[in-house]
């Protein structure tokens, strides 16, 4: 059955069972992603992002529900899905370490069925566009993390996919390389006639910068789905304060128990010996009560913050990403 959406899922559920535990990695996820859309799936580690991508790229079967990619059923028509997709993950090995960059790209171009002429042209163009031509004859094993990821993205784009799945594509990259890859992906999606991108990330700024729409996922469930600006706009009525404290050991558990507190996140910096709290409250009275408690500690700064996607997550879950990662096992 053909569907108008580039990607569509209906009640997609995946349960992992082991001897000791059962984990619901995806819980009835229903999403629709349009052609030419850059769609972000935002959530902490263990939220179910990679499981979602694995099912859509035919690497994993769902326990329940349906999923369509390019109108093809991922369960029943995996071969047709594979012809129109590509998957690029962060921190993965992009090819054979014993082969050179050019040899790796050539190898995959042939598996994608490209003619020799088309493959040569495309490899040359991708290496130039992603700025790693000088490493064409370098063994993949000798590349730095940044250049490996450029090679990985080039491999992913070789086949000219309609739908590009990016699973944490800038994981572990330096700021400049991450920026270059992000802008290249956005340009690619604009240029391609059917260039749809599904991006998973736990970098808020990345999702904010790149995505037309974002879905926030936590413990396998979609909590919100809209454009980044709309999601942030909904928080305009809330008070968001940033407090920097000279301690990395203090317990802030009391914040959660106070009235009118929507949620908070904490980022501990061991090197500077500081903790940055981001606290979201319904009104200023609630914040004043929190500050009275915090006065027992050494407060370095207090400022009002503009809403970010992390605040959207905090408003939905009541905690930040780091706390989410610590308490999620999926």
């Amino acid at each position: 059955m053909k569907l108008p959406h580039s990607i569509e899922t209906r009640d997609l559920t995946r349960i992992f069972k082991s001897k000791n535990e059962t984990v619901k990695a995806l819980d009835k996820v229903s999403l629709s992603i349009e052609e030419r859309e850059i769609f972000g799936l935002l959530g902490p580690n263990g939220a179910g992002k990679t499981t979602f991508i694995k099912i859509l790229t035919t690497l994993l079967l769902p326990t329940n529900g349906e999923a369509y990619v390019g109108g093809f059923n991922v369960i029943k028509e995996p071969d047709r899905v594979r012809k129109i997709i590509s998957l690029v993950s962060g921190g993965e090995t992009p090819g054979y370490g014993i082969l050179s960059v050019r040899e790796n790209l050539w190898f995959f171009s042939q598996l994608y069925g490209l003619s020799s002429t088309a493959a040569r042209e495309k490899i040359k163009r991708l290496m130039a566009d992603l700025d790693f031509e000088e490493y064409a004859n370098t063994r993949m094993a000798k590349l730095s993390t940044g250049y490996r990821q450029r090679l990985n993205l080039a491999r992913g784009l070789l086949s000219g996919p309609n739908i590009l799945f990016l699973d944490e594509p800038t994981l572990g990259l330096d700021v400049l390389t991450a920026k270059k890859l992000r802008s290249y992906i956005v340009d690619w999606a604009k240029k391609e006639a059917k260039g749809t991108v599904l991006l998973t990330t736990h970098y808020m700024a990345e999702a904010d910068e790149m995505c037309d729409r974002v879905a926030i996922i936590d413990r396998g469930r979609i909590l919100a789905c809209d454009s980044p600006s709309t999601l942030k706009e909904n928080l305009k009525q809330k008070q968001i304060m940033r407090v920097e404290i000279a301690s990395v050991q203090a317990d802030f558990g009391f914040i959660d128990k106070m009235a009118d507190v929507i949620g908070y996140s904490q980022t501990r910096n061991i090197q500077t010996g500081t903790t940055t709290l981001k606290i979201m409250v319904d009104n200023e009275t609630a914040f004043a009560k929190i500050m009275r408690q915090l006065e027992k500690l050494k407060i370095l700064s207090v400022s009002k913050a503009e809403p970010t996607l992390e605040d959207v997550y905090i408003s939905l879950v009541g905690r930040g990403f780091e706390e989410g990662e610590a308490s999620t096992s999926a």
Binding site: L59, L61, P78, L87, L111, G113
Partner: protein, 284 residues
């Protein structure tokens, strides 16, 4: 899938297999290893036979030729099974590219076939070198009599037996690939179990008739039995051998092996998708 994509995939997989096989050493060291590995196996069995014959005081040139041919052609089993068994773990855990190959339209099966064909080419070169150096050592240097008429080889029968035999070994290789997709770290053990069973019951270095009746029943069910019988007849021309019946059994047992091998692989592929095993992380 387009035929051109299949051919490109197979060709690249053969090339990649060669690169991986030859990558670890200098060309000269690799060439020596290429020759010594199969030749050592033949020399061990050959010298055991010669010493045993010396102790017993009798030497049977027909039996020496039987052993010589069987052991030399067994290299196909070892090479194909080893290359196919290892590649899943190598690509999944060491190179970490199995999932990208799995997601290409070229298909994992054609890729595996290409890697296996690299094993076939390696085995053919090893076989030629082993036969050449084996003859040089045993026949020329040691003066061992072998009832082999090298000018009277029935090449069409030899080629036909090899052709059908390859289907069988490739099918068993796919079975090993399937088992390896579902398991972790059993690749070497598994290859040794399967090739050891074929070596023991397949009539490689001794006549199956000396096995107990249950052992002979296993022998009769194995395609390698008919493969080696066909090869030996093409080279040795033993009297009273029914070529057509042997070919029929070779085809039938090979069909059985293909159904078994591809069946196990198909089940493994489904289980891999069900349990997320294609990109499972494990220590290499």
């Amino acid at each position: 899938m387009a035929v051109s994509t299949i051919l490109r995939t197979v060709k690249q997989a053969i090339w990649l297999g060669w690169k991986i096989d030859t990558n670890w050493a200098d060309p000269l060291v690799f060439a020596i290893y290429y020759l010594i590995r199969p030749l050592a196996g033949l020399l061990i069995v050959g010298f055991i036979f010669l010493i045993g014959s010396g102790v017993a005081g009798t030497f049977n040139p027909d039996y020496f030729a039987f052993m010589f041919i069987g052991n030399s052609f067994f290299i196909y089993v070892v090479q194909i099974m080893m290359s196919m068994s290892i590649l899943i773990h190598e690509d999944r855990s060491h190179y970490e590219v199995l999932r990208h190959i799995y997601l290409t339209p070229g298909s994992l099966r054609w890729y595996i076939l290409g890697r296996a064909l690299n094993g076939v080419l390696n085995a053919t070169v090893s076989l030629i070198l082993t036969l050449g150096f084996g003859l040089l050592i045993f026949q020329v240097l040691l003066g061992v009599q072998m009832s082999i008429n090298w000018w009277g080889i029935d090449f069409p029968l030899l080629a036909l037996s090899l052709f059908i035999g390859m289907f069988c070994f490739l099918a068993l290789g796919f079975m090993l690939c399937g088992i390896n997709i579902m398991t972790s770290r059993v690749q070497f053990m598994l290859t040794e179990y399967v090739s050891g069973t074929l070596y023991l019951f397949g009539g490689v270095v001794f006549l199956p008739e000396i096995l107990p009746s249950w052992g002979q029943a296993i022998t009769n069910a194995l395609p390698i039995t008919y493969f080696l019988r066909g090869i030996r007849f093409a080279i040795l021309h033993q009297a009273g051998f029914d070529v057509q019946t042997n070919l029929l059994y070779l085809v039938l047992t090979t069909v059985g092996a293909v159904i078994l091998g591809l069946g196990v692989f198909k089940i493994a592929e489904h289980k891999a998708r069900k349990d997320g095993l294609i990109d499972r992380k494990e220590e290499y």
